[in-house]
């Protein structure tokens, strides 16, 4: 760690802007903060009533501001591109669990379109308490800078980086010490930063800190997807810091506190009583499902070829609970969250890289990380998974993205598409832990084959086709990306609805819009196209709502109330949905129904779709999936589950598999599955009010109150 006193002596302020603070009114500050790091302009912008009605907050605000700031041809590294951070009206309350999330929105270096990424930690709520519903950063600096939002003196400053460390786990500690006048103030500081990889790759992510009172250390939560950390460093931002004078019970000045505290207390009671016999979120975090996914053949293994592995027991979640995660500690990433799932590994000692031999704290592994950096790479060893987790975090790399990239490269290596000559000596076989770690270090430093890996799956694919004559058909089948974003870590082959849940997602295949595998594949609750389309309407809209409000979606369904089984639609956890209606009304004073909740999301969801269309994407062809997401690409995959696939040939397609070669059977199954997916697109588009090309109809936009002239202008020629 650098000496903070020496850094302070070198501080050079570039600009300072003062503002008049006023209290939040029912969840809204009614203004946003604009910072241009190129021109050093800082100003506030009013939030109109229309902006609140149509866009609500969080992702909605981010999208609206980004639309206005950019043109259809703006590139991710143009000064016009922005990074917008916004929590939403419910964000920052502490009386209902999981209300500390922010949504980060930007044009992505990976997808060339709109990216949104949700993240916990303190920064979003603190920025809101400082007086702003969103932070909008534009421009490009020519030197490394720190943006400081000082909510005590009501000032925003930009100063030159006096020489802080680069990687997040140290940078966060240095900045906390720098801005806290005494150790008690550490809990009042929220930081956004990234790490070395964001300078050297297209897959950089952002770390948001939270202060762990018990451990007296900073912890990290990630806005991982789509390379927003790379945009951050392209603007030469080293960190953004917000400091407040403390969290008080009602900084949101809510309309009716009881409407929040009553369900809030009830929810906390459910967690206290049932978590231990349900998911054990407090003991294992989201990683509790590693073994569940393996049992149901859904745990991505060897680049999503398989859903389980004989060694998967070695990464059973009990091992995390019993050997790695510190127990009996409040691991909430925002104050008041009863779920407390942000588990951590204390005193972990990496065996490689620049922090080799040092004791570090590792945030996670969460499920996605354990699956992506574990099974998907053929690595069934928590020491290795946790070491990759640590380095991904501190270097500023999204673990989901990295897992899918390395898995793809390993399959390429095992198929001879790349070799030791191309990788600079790395033997990228599945299960090779030293090679996987070395590639990660190289990516962070922008050296060797790590530089190629840091481009992301889509660009690597193009690179291999152009430079090494790789077979484009095979690469397109096994490269687990859609829209330029890497798949998150679930096998979707046996769930048609989840294939749509992934590939129809506005930003690319992340599971935060829809996770329908169990409803579809195991429960068989949505057998018809109409049922699937309904699910692919309700769930993405419901889940979008969390991102408008500053809420964590995990809280909704990772604990089940005991009387849920008597509900008409138990899979929606209706009691918790009712809680959210009450919390919204409690904060804003505006009554809410389930229909209006879905409508709020629909407005923003359609806006995002049209934003993609405006940029030349967002059409049916962009919802295409790699065949690996839909079925067996290789003979090895087919034969590993031959009984299942042969059965499907007979029962679903009416073809007798006997006497046919595996290749023939793969072809028949593929044709069937691809047709099914096209039918799914038809059904879902219709349910969502879109035409066959995936374009929202003007009639639908009118119905949902989104017939804004700028949207009509984009969709009118495509009706």
């Amino acid at each position: 760690m650098k000496n903070v006193h020496e850094l302070k002596a070198k501080e050079k302020k570039l600009t300072e802007w003062s503002y008049v603070w006023h209290p939040i009114e029912r969840g809204y500050n009614n203004r946003t903060l604009y910072v241009n790091v190129g021109t050093l302009e800082i100003k506030e912008k009013p939030v109109s009533q229309q902006m609140k009605e149509k866009f609500v907050g969080g992702k909605g605000f981010g999208l609206r501001l980004l639309w206005d700031a950019t043109t259809p041809t703006t590139k991710w590294n143009d000064p016009e591109n922005e990074i917008i951070i916004s929590p939403g009206p419910i964000g920052g309350i502490t009386q209902y669990s999981g209300a500390g999330k922010s949504l980060v929105v930007s044009l992505s270096p990976q997808t060339d379109s709109v990216m949104d990424s949700n993240v916990g930690g303190f920064f979003g709520p603190f920025m809101k308490f400082a007086g702003f519903d969103a932070l909008e950063i534009q421009g490009k600096s020519d030197k490394d800078i720190i943006i400081y939002i000082d909510a005590i003196n009501h000032k925003v400053e930009i100063f030159e980086d006096p020489g802080f460390s680069t990687d997040s786990h140290i940078l966060g500690e240095e900045l906390t010490e720098y801005f806290a006048n005494d150790p008690k103030e550490a809990k009042n500081i929220g930081i956004v930063s990234t790490g070395a990889a964001a300078d050297n790759s297209l897959i950089g992510m952002l770390n948001f800190t939270f202060w762990d009172v018990k451990r007296k250390k900073i912890r990290l939560k990630q806005a991982g997807r789509g390379g927003i950390g790379t945009v951050f460093r392209d603007k030469k931002i080293k960190a953004i810091v917000a400091k407040i004078d403390g969290v008080k019970p009602n900084l949101n000045n809510v309309a009716d506190m009881e409407k929040i505290t009553v369900p809030g207390r009830d929810y906390a009671k459910e967690m206290a009583e049932y978590d231990d016999i349900q998911n054990q979120m407090r003991k294992k975090g989201t990683a509790n499902i590693v073994n569940v996914m393996s049992d149901y053949d859904l745990l991505p293994t060897h680049n999503f070829k398989f859903g389980s592995h004989k060694d998967a027991y070695k990464i059973h979640s009990d091992i995390l609970r019993d050997k790695y995660f510190t127990q009996g500690i409040n691991d909430a990433c925002w104050i008041g969250c009863a779920m407390q799932c942000a588990k951590g590994v204390d005193d972990f000692i990496p065996k490689t890289g620049p922090y080799k031999g040092q004791k570090v704290i590792v945030d996670g592994p969460e499920y996605e990380t354990a699956a992506g950096l574990g099974a998907n790479l053929g690595i069934f060893d928590y020491d290795a998974i946790i070491e990759q987790n640590f380095y991904c975090d501190t270097y500023g790399i999204c673990t989901i993205t990295w897992g899918t990239i390395v898995a793809f490269l390993m399959e390429c290596y095992e198929n001879g598409i790349i070799n030791k000559e191309i990788t600079g000596g790395l033997e990228l076989n599945f299960g090779n832990i030293p090679a996987a770690l070395e590639l990660l270090h190289q990516c962070a430093s922008g050296e060797g084959f790590g530089k190629i890996a840091g481009m992301g799956v889509r660009k690597i694919k193009q690179y291999l086709i152009e430079n090494y004559n790789a077979d484009p058909n095979f690469l397109n089948d096994i490269a687990m990306e859609n829209k330029g974003l890497e798949y998150s870590q679930y096998v979707s082959k046996e769930s048609l609805a989840q294939q749509g849940g992934y590939a129809m997602t506005n930003k690319g295949p992340q599971h935060d819009e829809a996770w329908l595998i169990f409803m579809d594949m195991v429960n068989n609750q949505i057998p018809t196209f109409e049922n699937k389309a309904d699910a692919l309407h309700w769930f993405p809209m419901f889940r979008t709502w969390f991102g408008l409000q500053g809420l964590c979606k995990i809280v909704w369904n990772d604990i089940i109330p005991p009387d849920n089984k008597f509900e008409k639609e138990p899979h929606k956890i209706p009691k918790h949905v009712r809680n959210y209606l009450s919390v919204w009304e409690g904060v804003t004073g505006i009554p809410m129904t389930e229909e209006e909740l879905i409508r709020q999301s629909e407005r923003v969801y359609n806006f995002q779709r049209i934003f993609n269309i405006r940029r030349g994407y967002g059409l049916r062809k962009h919802d295409a999936q790699p065949y690996r997401a839909a079925g067996p690409v290789t003979v090895e995959e087919y034969e590993s589950r031959a009984e299942r696939y042969d059965g499907q040939l007979k029962e679903l397609i009416g073809v007798n598999p006997e006497g046919k070669t595996t290749e023939e059977k793969i072809k028949i199954l593929r044709k069937y599955r691809e047709e099914q997916y096209e039918k799914l697109l038809d059904a879902v588009y219709e349910r969502r009010g879109w035409n066959k090309n995936g374009v929202p109809t003007i009639e639908h936009l009118k119905k949902i109150g989104m017939d804004l002239p700028e949207l009509i202008e984009v969709v009118a020629p495509l009706q």
Binding site: Q278, Y296, N523, N524, I560, F566
Partner: protein, 67 residues
């Protein structure tokens, strides 16, 4: 026996099985389940004493909606 499990026909070699045995055979290890036998909710503590037989309609709903 042949039963309907989650709206699909399923055949087991045994004449009767408890719900607990069916969960084990199907590798249904996820803890948050709603189990209904012929439309009657079966509580977890009754899984090993409730028998499923030929022609029964068994629903085992997994309440897992993702991370």
């Amino acid at each position: 026996m042949q039963i309907t499990l989650n709206n699909k026909i399923e055949v087991f070699p045994n004449e009767t099985l408890t719900i607990k045995e069916i969960l084990e055979l199907k590798k249904f290890t996820y803890p948050k389940l709603i189990v209904k036998l012929n439309d009657v909710i079966i509580e977890k503590e009754d899984f090993d004493s409730t028998f499923v037989k030929e022609g029964d309609n068994l629903m085992i709903l997994h309440l897992l909606a993702g991370g």
